[in-house]
């Protein structure tokens, strides 16, 4: 496997297929395409490979993968990675495909949120429930402060120097950023709903030390309201056991985990039905030729949102993708058990 760091930033990457989403179905699609000599780049918004399996339930057992009576989300991801190793796909993690535009030569130009561009003959959308995005606390008017005073991630630490910061949450993100930003911040308050933290014990301990030394404040309670004007935050209201408290801050970092949103896919001009992409059941192609949708993101009569359905869809998609990528080559159906050319590709000796 290759990671995107191997590429020069800013250059346009030419490839056969871009798969959007590195979940189990996207990974298996690499295998099916690989057997047909098709080269693949994968893009995923998460910082890891495996999609929901890795993000939502890495340790939860799955019981309905054929041939694997029980396998965890992470184990399945690891097994698939082992299976696709011979095909050396390139992964672009922490990136989201924002734009797709059709070129005159029939290929597609894809752009990601960090500026990576792909010129590809075929696009495979394997985006599951959509892209994982940070949860936005349902507080009235919060949108107005996003990007100026409310941030769901830290891209540049220096941005937070001399700010009066409120960090909300009790997991690793909340605690790690508390420790990293405390030395830069003018003041820092950590707000969590209970005096119990899921985060790694040593970071919790360090945080408690800072509180004991008066270098930051820990509040047990929940965020209730944001106050300010012109997208500049001036204060927050917090509900604690003692009642409501309003105090001045100009920066809030809420860490409430991730949720799945369809995101930019809805702007790509594809037919959509209830946030899903309708496809045919022969090729799993969308309303736009050369753009396929496989796994949980697609819809067709009788669709079951099972990983195994996505595997089947990946195999059939690959057959059709082959005709777009190698229009002059006849595709001969072969079995991995008996075909020496397939076994050679898989590195079987």
């Amino acid at each position: 496997m290759s990671m995107a760091q191997d590429q020069t930033p800013g250059q346009t990457i030419e490839t056969d297929v871009v798969i959007i989403g590195a979940g189990p179905v996207g990974l298996f699609a690499v295998f099916e395409l690989g057997l047909l000599d098709i080269k693949v780049h994968l893009v995923d918004i998460l910082d890891k490979i495996g999609g929901q399996c890795a993000e939502l339930y890495p340790e939860k057992p799955i019981y309905d993968i054929p041939g694997l009576p029980v396998v965890t989300g992470q184990e399945l991801t690891d097994r698939l990675m082992e299976q696709i190793k011979p095909f050396d796909p390139t992964f672009h993690l922490n990136e989201r495909v924002d734009e797709i535009s059709k070129q005159d030569d029939g290929r597609f130009l894809l752009k990601t949120d960090v500026g990576t561009c792909f010129l590809t003959k075929v696009v495979v959308i394997g985006a599951g429930g959509g892209s994982f995005t940070p949860k936005r606390p349902p507080i009235e008017g919060i949108e107005a402060y996003e990007g100026t005073s409310v941030h769901y991630s830290v891209r540049r630490m220096e941005f937070f120097r001399d700010k009066d910061i409120l960090i909300v949450g009790g997991g690793d993100s909340a605690l790690d950023w508390t420790l990293s930003l405390q030395p830069l911040a003018k003041t820092l308050t950590l707000l969590h709903r209970r005096d119990d933290f899921r985060a790694a014990p040593h970071t919790v301990e360090k945080m408690r030390e800072l509180v004991a030394n008066g270098q930051m404040r820990l509040l047990i309670g929940q965020m209730r309201g944001l106050h300010g004007s012109d997208s500049q935050l001036e204060a927050v209201t917090v509900k604690t056991k003692e009642g409501e408290e309003r105090f001045p801050v100009n920066t809030v970092l809420p860490f409430f985990g991730l949720t799945m949103k369809l995101g930019p896919i809805s702007d790509w001009g594809l037919n959509l039905h209830e946030n899903l992409i309708p496809v045919d059941t022969e090729k799993f192609e969308t309303s736009e030729p050369r753009i396929f949708a496989i796994g949980d993101i697609n819809a067709y009569p009788g669709k079951l949102k099972l990983i195994l359905s996505g595997f089947h869809e990946a195999a059939l998609m690959a057959q059709k993708a082959h005709s777009y990528i190698f229009p002059d080559k006849k595709l001969l159906f072969q079995y991995t058990t008996s075909s020496s050319s397939l076994q050679k590709k898989l590195g079987v000796r």
Binding site: G169, R198, Q222, T259
Partner: protein
């Protein structure tokens, strides 16, 4: 069998028939109860099936496990009566259960 009543933030309610062994979340999803999203499908991994259990029922539904408490950190407006309803198994004892759906699931 247990009848479970879901009360929405606007005061409207919907009563569903649940079968012992189901979770309260599954019973709600089967009847399309509004406000129960259950994004992760019941893996206790997303906190989008957050509900409030009426006071007099909390003894019968039990209290959240450590894993559920951790996941409740991802819910909004968490109260003493908060539960993730994918973690409440239906038993015949829960016949008549009243569940309040929060204003927002995030």
């Amino acid at each position: 069998m247990a009848r479970i009543t879901f009360i929405q933030p606007d005061g409207t309610s919907q009563t569903v028939q649940a079968t012992a062994g189901q979770t309260v979340m599954e019973a709600a999803k089967l009847e399309n109860v509004a406000g129960i999203e259950a994004e992760c499908g019941g893996a206790c991994a997303c906190a989008t099936c957050h509900v409030y259990i009426a006071d007099d029922w909390r003894e019968k539904t039990g209290s959240p496990s450590e894993m559920e408490e951790d996941m409740l950190d991802f819910a909004f407006d968490v109260r003493a009566e908060s539960r993730l309803c994918c973690q409440i198994k239906v038993t015949d004892d829960l016949d008549g259960l009243i569940v309040q759906v929060p204003a927002k699931q995030f």
